[in-house]
């Protein structure tokens, strides 16, 4: 699954640590999501969508669709 975590974070000038704190996860988890090593749960995806004020589909895309 592809995601725009890194771009969206950079647009808001947030550090990985700041984003991790907002999402209540470790910085390692944010990094793993950004690098595509780890796909978050639906719960965390919704939380990120709320934080970025976007829809889930604006942040995450199914790689099979590409």
């Amino acid at each position: 699954m592809k995601n725009r975590f890194k771009v969206l974070r950079a647009e808001r000038d947030w550090t990985q640590a700041q984003l991790a704190d907002e999402l209540r996860v470790s910085r390692q988890t944010v990094n793993a999501i950004e690098t595509g090593k780890f796909d978050p749960s639906l719960k965390l995806a919704f939380k990120a969508a709320r934080l970025f004020e976007l829809g889930i589909e604006d942040i995450f895309q199914d790689e099979a669709a590409f």
């Binding site: 808001r12 947030w14 700041q18 991790a20 704190d21 907002e22 999402l23 209540r24 996860v25 470790s26 390692q28 988890t29 990094n31 793993a32 090593k37 780890f38 978050p40 749960s41 965390l44 939380k47 709320r50 934080l51 004020e53």
Partner: protein, 140 residues
């Protein structure tokens, strides 16, 4: 950015606190295990009552340690839980596979030393540490 701040909580601090609790209960369990093992011979000259009491205390602390492990895992975020679950699975597998083999070697008198349950516990502990380290590196 402050949208979710109300329910935000500093993850590293939360995990550090949980780890510290777990460390304390683990240390208490190790200490009472050592006391139960060495106490009869070194301290109370094989008296039954102190041995039973120490074993009961050891069991109680052991169960409290298990509860703390559960709380620690619940405090981890989802990636942390995934790494922990993978490490626990590998550890369980190593224990199940190596335990009977070790027993078999001992029963056939193919070991030059006295087999002890502590050896298996040590193997499982080292396996968990190595698997947890490998998992953490994988997602770094």
């Amino acid at each position: 950015m402050d949208k979710l701040k109300a329910d935000s909580n500093n993850y590293p601090i939360r995990i550090a606190k949980s780890s510290l609790h777990l460390l304390r209960w683990t240390a208490a369990w190790v200490a009472t295990t050592a006391l139960a093992g060495l106490g009869p011979g070194l301290i109370w000259d094989y008296a039954t009552l102190p041995t039973i009491l120490v074993v009961l205390v050891n069991l109680g602390i052991g169960f409290r340690m298990i509860l703390q492990i559960k709380r620690y895992v619940q405090a981890l975020d989802e990636l942390g839980q995934k790494i922990f679950l993978n490490a626990a699975s590998i550890t369980l597998g190593v224990g199940i596979v190596c335990g009977p083999s070790y027993t078999l070697l001992a029963s056939q008198k193919l070991l030059s030393f006295q087999p002890e349950i502590g050896h298996l516990i040590m193997l499982m502990a080292l396996t968990f540490v190595a698997a947890n380290y490998a998992g953490t590196r994988k997602y770094r």
